[in-house]
Amino acid sequence: MQLNPTISTRAGMLRSSVVPTVYGDGAILLDLTTKYFYHLNETGWAIVQLMESGAAAPEAIVKRCAQWGATSNDAADIWRFLDDLHAFGLVEEAQPASLPDIDAPTRWISPCIERQAEPLHRLVTSAFDPSIPLAE
């Protein structure tokens, strides 16, 4: 598989302000800075796990995806997914490390990330009540 040259040098690592939680087949990510939630499908979550403990080079990610069943036809989807992670500010550039061993997805599907339409409130009424405060 060929890499998109625009991202080929951008090894990415999940930012420390992003909290992943397994949900359903995939996971959700909460960006504590923006309070936006993101949904990952199973394959997207598998790729993000490669970037959890160290930076992953796109070439290495694509190679790992091929082991999970991706074909050359899927390359564009993988690039788009990695670009989305960067565009949403969920990963930061760092020196690439070796990829961790993680469980392979049960089947290969194109990786997908969706951002929740509205973030959680940054300003809340109290430590108990997440509503926006009433006007005084």
């Binding site: 939680t21 949900y23 504590l32 809340v124 009424t125 109290s126 430590a127 405060p133």
Partner: protein
């Protein structure tokens, strides 16, 4: 963050602090500010629900002191309070100058300057207390949830989710008068072990206008407003609907309540699994600390994966025409 010493009064065998239970916490309140202590003890009364078998003891030491720091809100930004958390310690400051500091294992030190005890200052003390409780509930294995909970006659627990003023209390009242049970209209704890929800309060916060639908509430307009920011009155549930309050429930359903003027009475639709998760996440405070946030989200996502959801759209005549309890029960069975 500087080190905080345990209060000397904590070890006094007699004549020491006041003790109050609040969910799984036993709270000892003492110090040299009796006026502020009265406010705190009064606020704790509102959380007086059912006794818990396990108790975590914490201490709140209320001192006459002037604010010496200003929190930045790196952990939590509330309407009148900013909270920072660092290395497990916590400190918060409010607009009136009321502040709180805490180091792991120590007492919560509440500083109250020489201020007039008007509505904002009382609200700030209540905000500080809300922080103390929320943090300690988490330490004890519970997450606070700002939602109502009812139990259908067939035994299904249903969480009622909406923002403040979104209709949780009125809907809870409507269901309770139809024979459903309730755990409360807006204050719940979720167990991190079993994902059961527990009642935290025996009172509802009801708008006096609800009396136009529910005649048994006709006298509530005569009660004092419980806060300057709202017209709502605090009503003890069992004084109006005896036997309606229950201690705990295992939620089977999440109901997202939406007020909708385009709906004649009410209308239901099923929610997807993802919508259930988002609905629940909007009912909890997720602080900007990685480990705390992870624990809260894990609880909520586990709860979401055990429940199904409905969206309930309520029009202006929701409580005047079709029986909403009957309709919900039919949808859920």
């Amino acid at each position: 963050m500087h080190s905080i010493q345990a209060s000397p009064w904590l070890n006094k065998p007699a004549g020491g602090p006041l003790s109050r239970e609040c969910g799984p916490l036993e709270i000892l309140v003492g110090g040299d500010r009796p006026d502020a202590i009265r406010v705190i003890v009064g606020a704790l009364e509102l959380y007086r629900g059912f006794p818990f078998s396990e108790k975590r003891q914490i201490a709140v030491d209320v001192r006459r002191a002037t604010l010496t720091f200003a929190a930045r809100g790196t952990y939590l930004t509330c309407g009148r309070m900013l909270v920072d958390r660092e290395r497990g310690g916590c400190r918060a400051s409010t607009r009136s100058g009321v502040a709180v500091e805490h180091e792991p294992g120590g007492a919560w030190i509440v500083s109250v300057p020489d201020i007039q005890f008007d509505e904002p200052a009382v609200g700030d003390i209540e905000d500080v207390l809300s922080l103390v409780l929320t943090e300690e509930w988490r330490e004890a294995g519970w997450d606070a949830m700002h939602a109502g909970c009812v139990v259908t006659p067939s035994g299904n627990g249903m969480l009622l989710c909406a923002a403040s003023g979104g209709g949780k209390s009125t809907l809870t009242a409507a269901l309770v008068r139809s024979g459903w049970k309730t755990l409360g209209d807006d204050k719940l704890l979720v167990s991190r072990r079993s994902f059961e929800v527990f009642s935290l309060s025996r009172s509802f916060n009801l708008d006096p206008r609800t009396a136009r639908w529910f005649s048994e509430l006709s006298a509530i307009a005569a009660l004092p407003r419980y806060s300057a920011w709202t017209d709502k009155r605090r009503v003890f549930v069992e004084s109006v609907w005896p036997g309606s309050l229950v201690c705990s429930a295992q939620p089977a359903v999440v109901a997202k309540i939406v007020r909708d003027d385009n709906v004649h009475d009410w209308w239901l639709r099923r929610l997807t699994s993802r919508q259930v998760l988002l609905t629940l996440l909007e009912q909890v405070v997720v602080p900007a600390d990685r480990e705390v946030a992870r624990a809260v989200i894990t609880t909520i996502s586990s709860l979401a994966s055990r429940t199904r959801g409905v969206e309930l759209r309520l029009g202006s005549r929701a409580y005047e025409t079709r029986d909403i309890a009957e309709g919900l029960e039919a949808e859920l069975t």
